[in-house]
Point group: C2
């Protein structure tokens, strides 16, 4: 005999598929659903289906969008393009309320070990946007790892000859942390990218 | 402008209602759903609705059941009844694969401070089951706190005169822990409930 009746066991399994959720946590979540009102459970289920139904990618930047073109592309300064790897990176930068330009989501980075070449990510779409003119700066915000660095260099080599400046997010000691506990690679980059005072 | 498009923001809100889930975790969960196949998302949503649709309480024991009477009540030894506060406690005990009897879920404990009296929980249903005869032992497995203790004593006073022995789960030092770090109340109970060697 199973410990849980089938509907509860099934919901536990579904919750277990979420990242970082083990059986115990999944069980707590399932019990919460059991305790929900019918209307709340329906709203929850509907929100899940709704995401699959409505979340598309913006035809211009490749970020998450409900419409063909996202609200950011439609309304913001198109002269500065911030290049990111993943649609999720857009939200991470948006929450700063700092950047006023638009994005370009590559949907990946160049990674020969994984068989991902320049043609497998949205580089030609980026070049096409730049080709339309009016772009004053491209900020590359790929992750500071081997493939992120390689992609940034590759983009710089392609775009700089077009007369558009390419910049990259600064790397260095995280604000609030201590030099003593900063890892070697980060500390080295902080030296290399040191700024005049 | 919102950081997230509406369908993703809505799903983050829904996930945030689960116990112990903050905005960051809810965001991770929401992205996982975005990455799911249509079929997986549908299965997830369906499992949520299914729980609300199918989970009822067993007419005999009051535990979770898909049918009028649960599989435990239908198939197990009815001469021993384990009394618990909550339907969730049944699964916690079932996973031991140790107890072979049936359950009785009170759906609460006596708690005058919260206005819960003996008539507000399923005590008369328990007495009715005992009245049908054949019950050889009632094991009270309410939590070891003030209201759990009070409920256990109340039940013992009602049931013992019917000629049915009433026992309670042992309290003491958790297996694997150390006396030095055991809290005072638990250590005191361990003394009071000490056993002959």
């Amino acid at each position: 005999m199973d410990i849980f009746i089938e509907p509860i066991g099934r919901l536990i399994n579904e919750f277990s598929r979420l990242p970082g959720v083990g059986k115990k946590t999944a069980l707590r979540y399932a019990y919460r659903v059991v305790d929900m009102s019918e209307a709340d459970a329906r709203a929850f289920a509907d929100a899940i289906l709704n995401v699959k139904r409505k979340v598309k990618y913006c035809k211009t930047c490749g970020g998450f969008s409900e419409e063909d073109e996202c609200a950011i592309c439609k309304t913001r300064d198109r002269s500065v393009i911030c290049v990111v790897k993943d649609p999720r990176d857009v939200a991470a930068i948006e929450k700063l309320h700092e950047f006023k330009g638009v994005y370009h989501v590559l949907h990946g980075v160049i990674d020969p070990m994984e068989g991902v070449g320049p043609n497998d990510i949205r580089i030609k779409e980026l070049l096409a946007r730049i080709g339309e003119g009016g772009v004053k700066e491209v900020i590359v915000a790929t992750n500071p790892d081997v493939s992120g660095d390689a992609t940034a260099l590759y983009l710089a080599r392609l775009i700089k000859p077009l007369g558009v400046p390419v910049t990259r997010l600064a790397h260095g000691i995280p604000v609030g942390s201590e030099i003593e506990y900063t890892d070697d690679v980060t500390l080295t980059r902080a030296f290399v990218e040191r700024n005049p005072l």
